[in-house]
Symmetry: C2
Subunit: 172 residues, 2 copies
């Protein structure tokens, strides 16, 4: 649909990592609808997962979209989608440095993936105008925002879900 150069793949591969050739063109396009402000200026400072931190973060929505927040003040948690714009997109097998084994991109929550969209659940503290105060994000400061959705426990919560490879890892 939309023609564009594939993004360059910066950096080197770790042992066992496999990159594929990216498609020649993109199929759809995104608007950044705001920015996420967090205490972490560099990726290496970010918490390893969003439940590790009580840091208060601020989502600043572009004023254009602020009318879309009506009714959101009644929810306890939001699903936040954001764009991990620094990540390469061409790896299918990855060896994250904190895991011993390499795994497929779709078995990991790594930012490195064909479409680097992160999905995080955050607790909503308050909304003032176009600013949301939340707890539970772990991204770098100034991350581009893609979407905010209400979190419905009835469809989004699966307390007994399991990730076999991770459970085994944690026991080792």
């Amino acid at each position: 649909m939309i023609e564009a150069k594939a993004v360059a793949a910066p950096g080197d591969l770790r042992e066992g990592e496999i990159a594929v050739e990216l498609p020649e063109r993109f199929d759809a396009s995104l608007y950044y609808i705001g920015r996420i402000h967090t205490p972490w200026k560099r990726r290496e400072d970010c918490p390893k997962n969003p439940r590790e931190t009580d840091a208060v973060c601020t989502i600043v929505l572009d004023p254009r979209w602020a009318g879309g927040l009506a009714g959101l003040e009644t929810v306890s948690h939001v699903v936040v989608l954001y764009w991990m714009d620094r990540a390469r997109r061409d790896l299918v097998l990855q060896a994250p440095h904190h895991y011993a084994e390499r795994r497929g991109t779709f078995a990991l929550r790594s930012p490195v993936r064909p479409n680097p969209i992160a999905v995080s659940v955050a607790r909503l503290i308050r909304i003032e105008g176009n600013r949301l105060t939340v707890v539970g994000l772990d991204c770098v400061d100034d991350t581009p925002l893609l979407d905010i959705k209400p979190y419905f426990a009835s469809i989004d919560s699966v307390p007994d879900a399991s990730v076999g490879w991770h459970a085994r890892q944690s026991k080792e």
Copy 2:
């Protein structure tokens, strides 16, 4: 970053709905990495929410990305991101026909939003080559796939989350 014409906004507004002018350019772009096959050929046939159905759906990943599935066979549930390519993108206030009141786009799970990315949790039945058999999706057949992630109960599950406006509505 990427210049492109804003998509046309098809269809008419319902009473009370408010559209904004879309930004002049896009900021990032997506690859369709596969297709989701479901029993529903038209949007009006789809279940109203994914927990309403036991229908078995098939996610067919483009062979290019199949190596990314390594390790995913150990998970019980996946987060599936897909692109709702038929939705208009310019509404901030919406009046979905099954709700009495209009609400902000970000307080709804409607496909109509600036970036029409859906997030669904599905139970993984099996993986064979580049095909995943899952239960718990409610999209129309042939929907473009954007991402698959492992669902971690530790970060993704909030059983006591609430959506105030919806709880009140359900009681009415």
